[in-house]
């Protein structure tokens, strides 16, 4: 093996080790913060103040119309939206998912909407859109 080539292989090995070590330290960090969070308890005095004075106005399930989505009264992916409402909400609040959704054909969009009706969860929906896009 020529000297230049050996140097090249050595550099690749070092880079691979560094990347692997970085990924490991990142995983260790996530593990540490996750286990610290498990034992977390918040002082109950600070928690209770707001909950007694909070004025709840959010609409939990969509018996509503496009107006409430347009004005931002509904910003989360609530269950039971019509196709139009679903698309407006996606466009207003989940632009990344909307861009991918918009790129699907009619069948893909219908499949996405059907999936949303069963799973009104943004993370799951995002994965579903990506899955349909790859098909």
């Amino acid at each position: 093996m020529r000297k230049g080539c050996r140097l090249c292989v050595f550099n690749i090995l070092i880079s691979t080790c560094a990347a692997s070590s970085w990924a490991q330290s990142n995983a260790d960090y996530l593990e540490s913060i996750s286990s610290e969070a498990k034992s977390l308890v918040i002082d109950t005095e600070t928690r209770s103040i707001s909950e007694t004075t909070a004025q709840k106005t959010v609409v939990q399930s969509a018996s509503s119309n496009e107006g409430e989505i347009q004005t931002g009264a509904i910003m989360e992916l609530v269950p039971g939206l019509s196709v139009d409402e679903f698309e407006i909400l996606l466009k207003n609040n989940y632009m990344g998912s909307y861009l991918f959704y918009r790129g699907l054909d009619d069948n893909g969009r219908q499949e996405t909407y059907d999936y949303y009706l069963q799973n009104p969860d943004p993370a799951k929906l995002r994965q579903k859109i990506l899955q349909i896009k790859k098909q």
Binding site: T46, A54, N93
Partner: protein
Amino acid sequence: MIRTLLAISLVTGFASSYALDVKLTPDKDFIEVIHQNRLIKIQRIQDQDHTLSGGFAKTSRKCPPFCIQPMVASDGVRTVGQLEVFEFMEKELLDETGVIVDARTPAWWKRGTIPGSINIPFTVFSLDVDDPELIDLMYKLGAKRRGDVSGITRTIEGLGLMGGSRKNDEWDFTNAKSVVIWCNGMWCGQSPRAISGLLELGYPADKILYYRGGMQAWQSLGLTVVVPEE
């Protein structure tokens, strides 16, 4: 509607005497913010004999990883305290030119957060630039993913024309919002990591504020915390 109510409340709420002994500032008893479409009143615990309990009363955690963070997270990023956060809530957050980001992982967020915050875990900022989750969340910060940009356009933008100073190949930060980023406090590295991630994406440093005290300082002052809805 709720924003109008809040604006009225901000005017009338401070004028009327609420007669709290433990105020936020000499002339401010409380402030109100919108959190997940609820109007939340932020004030301090009124019991002057109360001492903190729970996770944020803890003084020591293993370092690393829970090491004391520098006062400045990154060049150009301003570090702020509680009063600046209150001011931000009353101005930028209310008029929607600003966002408060809880950069902790969801396990922390679910146990309680600062009212008015949205959860964008620091891990999101290291996702692929085309990941829809990253695009979704960057959009909430006012940043837009760019399509194909021609070399000529980038050259012109590179000269500082066409708003080029707020754009790069991937993102348009022209309408980027001001962002207060926080995590568990001075021993927590989650928000500094989020700030590094945002800066690597090209987010303007002058739009980022680092609330270093985070949940630790918030709790030690007896300020209101909300538990997010599932």
